[in-house]
């Protein structure tokens, strides 16, 4: 019996009390009117209050933060359904305020608690509240939550960025088999296809690619070597519009550095291409106009030497009929004719040379260049009694495309000559001034042929603008401007005042080859 009693004590009373005293949980026994019936050691230690001072007090009087209504409801429910009810740290934070002083849990001022309300004694309406410290869990949750928020934000940004790229950048993604795996909407809009129509297709046979076999080989070679490659592509949109792209081909790798495919970035150069083609057409058109002018110039140049030959032959004929034709006269005449024919031939060569665009940059002495241009148009200037003068303090040399510059100068001077046709100016003059400046050279061509009206001066560089009633293509100054700014990398401006028109050309000392 005694042994049984001891065993009983050991098994229930002593052990239970010790555990209740030492367990790392708060244990609180309350009745349904919230009066305290037990307050374990853990609670004493954590709250600094003694059980003996608290017994029979209402828990809500001891801790003012406790919501009486909620706690009463939970206790009554637990007793009613005979299963536990709960407070969770996630939603209720804590029941018993316990100040924290741990460095690692700096986020919370009070211990976060899970509370289970267990029916303890139904007759006496007692429940036991088991309080578990969940601060670490809550801390982890809070940390996780803030990280998730951060990741969400980053993800949002990423999505936004991807969206922008998709809408603005032209690109195609290929897998390792060169099948299309993705294509941006910006590009789809141009091609007028739906994404699904192109996904999975072989890049080299897709769209309506106008890709040469050589280019395909070049790209395939680059694919193998995984080298970034640049190339120009031409393709048709669904509706048949020709599109030109400047494309860059690069290998794509995943985060682990393993190649997963390729990306082709495209730049739409269709407009530039069309512009270039239009310019080419204009250039051709202005060339044929220039050809006509050149023939006129040659005719002018040839008139005088041809009449010279004619005169020599006529003189010989007369002298022979009068038997006055000596060997000396004959030799002399032959020599004259020979020289003149040589001169005619040289004129042709000169014109032909001038007409050929240069492929290479050469050193150009501007004084000489002007002499040459005057040679071509001298006869026309003489017809209109135009005086020409050149002012240059010293020799001015630049490195540029010689014939382009020569054509431009002749074109501008021809404009001046044409203007004099409708001018009553007595002292007709074209004055050229060459000047060496620190960064560039300036060429000033001034005529006094009446100037240009203010309302049209802004239009003179526009294509197909002409004041000439006939023979004007309207491309002369437009082409001159194109040549000066795009090929010779200089600038050209035109001003007019006091009956004078001034064309100012500024050119760099040296340009690099771009052809």
């Amino acid at each position: 019996m005694a042994q049984e009693q001891t065993q009983h004590n050991l098994r229930t009373l002593t052990v239970d009390e010790k555990i209740v005293a030492n367990i790392d949980n708060g244990i609180l026994v309350l009745d349904d009117s919230l009066c305290i019936h037990h307050y374990n050691k853990w609670l004493e230690l954590h709250t600094g209050k003694k059980e003996k001072d608290l017994l029979t007090l209402k828990i809500s009087d001891v801790f003012a933060n406790i919501n009486t209504k909620t706690l009463t409801r939970k206790i009554k429910t637990a007793l009613r359904i005979q299963t536990p009810t709960f407070y969770t740290a996630n939603t209720s934070k804590y029941l018993i305020p316990i100040k924290l002083n741990q460095i690692k849990n700096a986020k919370f001022e009070y211990m976060q608690q899970d509370v289970s309300i267990i029916p303890f004694d139904l007759e006496k309406s007692l429940v036991a509240l088991i309080i578990t410290d969940q601060t670490n869990m809550a801390q982890t949750n809070a940390l996780l939550h803030s990280h998730i928020e951060e990741i969400k934000e980053l993800n949002q940004e990423l999505i936004k960025e991807r969206d922008t790229i998709d809408k603005k950048i032209l690109y195609i993604r290929l897998n390792l088999q060169a099948e299309i795996s993705d294509i941006s909407h910006a590009l789809l809009n141009l091609l007028e296809y739906e994404k699904e129509e192109l996904l999975g297709l072989d890049f080299f046979n897709f769209e309506r690619h106008l890709m040469s076999a050589t280019l395909k080989e070049k790209i395939k070679e680059a694919l193998k070597k995984k080298e970034p490659t640049n190339f120009e592509e031409r393709t048709l949109s669904l509706s048949g519009e020709v599109l030109y792209f400047q494309s860059t081909f690069v290998a794509e790798f995943n985060a682990k550095g393993v190649q997963i495919g390729f990306i082709i970035f495209r730049e739409n150069i269709t407009n530039a291409k069309i512009l270039a083609k239009t310019q080419e057409k204009m250039l051709a058109s202005s060339r044929s106009a220039a050809m006509g002018e050149m023939i006129a110039m040659i005719a002018h140049q040839w008139r005088q030497p041809l009449s010279l030959i004619n005169t020599v032959i006529a003189t010989m004929k007369v002298k022979r009929e009068l038997n006055l034709l000596t060997k000396e006269i004959t030799d002399n005449s032959y020599e004259k004719i020979q020289n003149t024919v040589k001169y005619l031939s040289e004129t042709i060569d000169d014109f032909r040379d001038y007409f050929k665009p240069n492929k290479e940059i050469s050193r150009v002495e501007l004084n000489t260049l002007f002499e040459k241009s005057i040679f071509f148009i001298k006869s026309e200037m003489d017809v209109h009694s135009i005086k020409y003068s050149l002012k240059a303090s010293e020799s001015v040399e630049i490195e540029t495309y010689k014939n382009e510059l020569l054509q431009t100068i002749i074109n501008i001077m021809k404009n001046s000559i044409d203007a004099f046709e409708e001018s009553d100016e007595r002292e007709k003059k074209i004055c050229v001034t060459l000047e060496r400046l620190s960064t560039h050279v300036s060429i000033e061509i001034v005529d006094n042929a009446g100037g240009i009206k203010k309302d049209i001066i802004t239009k003179v560089f526009e294509p197909y603008f002409s004041t000439k009633s006939k023979n004007g293509t309207g491309l002369g100054l437009y082409m001159s401007q194109t040549i000066i700014t795009e090929h010779l990398l200089g600038s050209i401006t035109l001003t007019s005042e006091n009956n004078q028109t001034k064309v100012l050309i500024e050119l760099p000392y040296k340009i690099r080859s771009q052809k």
């Binding site: 909620t70 409801r73 939970k74 009554k76 429910t77 009613r80 359904i81 005979q82 299963t83 536990p84 009810t85 709960f86 407070y87 969770t88 996630n90 939603t91 209720s92 934070k93 899970d114 289970s116």
Partner: protein, 197 residues
């Protein structure tokens, strides 16, 4: 995968009706108001059909709370309550903060599931213990990804309406069980069936 026969389903529904009647009284008590619970619509479904049920619920925003229970008969119960119902509950309990509302929903979950499950286990002559419930407010499309759902094979679905004087609270209770529990349940249900015959 285990599934229930028509007879087994019938018995289970009968048991659930009894258990649910018990829960009604407790909820009325807890909410300290006259409340009636409508006759529940109880179904037993395989989990994949449950996921299809979620599809039809996607239009609304739900609070979603879960509570695990252990014992011979074990599993997890899930309680869905839509936004409007949650607001009605908050009004009735004169709650002030969102945390208070969460707490009240958890309490309702706890009361409904523990009284249901306790009564059911009593009928099945066994005991269960309950873990702390937890709550999330999740977009329903994410629930399909919740792995815990994939772990269960059979679901007991109880569609219920709590009616107060002027407010209506609609909630759905799902009792999710695994194959082992279903086998145990089948045995128990068959014992009851034999007794009835």
């Amino acid at each position: 995968m285990y599934s229930l026969t028509e007879d087994e389903k019938d018995v289970l529904q009968e048991l659930m009706n009894v258990a649910y009647g018990n829960a009604t009284a407790v909820v009325a008590d807890m909410l300290d108001a006259f409340a009636s619970l409508s006759i529940p619509n109880i179904q037993v479904l395989p989990t994949h059909e449950l996921l299809a049920t979620f599809e039809s619920m996607k239009a609304e925003s739900y609070f979603f709370s879960t509570q695990a229970f252990s014992g011979e008969f074990n599993g997890e119960s899930a309680f869905f309550i839509n936004d409007i119902s949650a607001q009605n509950l908050a009004k009735h309990l004169e709650l002030e903060t969102a945390d208070d509302l969460d707490d009240a929903i958890l309490e309702l979950t706890n009361v409904l599931t523990s009284s249901l499950t306790t009564k059911l286990s009593q009928e099945l002559d066994t005991e269960v213990s309950f873990s702390l419930p937890s709550i999330t407010k999740v977009p329903l499309q994410d629930i399909q990804e919740v792995e815990t759902f994939q772990n269960y094979s059979q679901v007991i679905v109880i569609d219920t309406d709590l009616n107060f004087e002027d407010q209506k609270i609609n909630g759905k209770i799902f009792i999710l069980t695994k194959d082992a529990s279903i086998q145990w349940l089948k045995n128990k249900l068959n014992t009851i069936l034999e007794l009835l015959l």
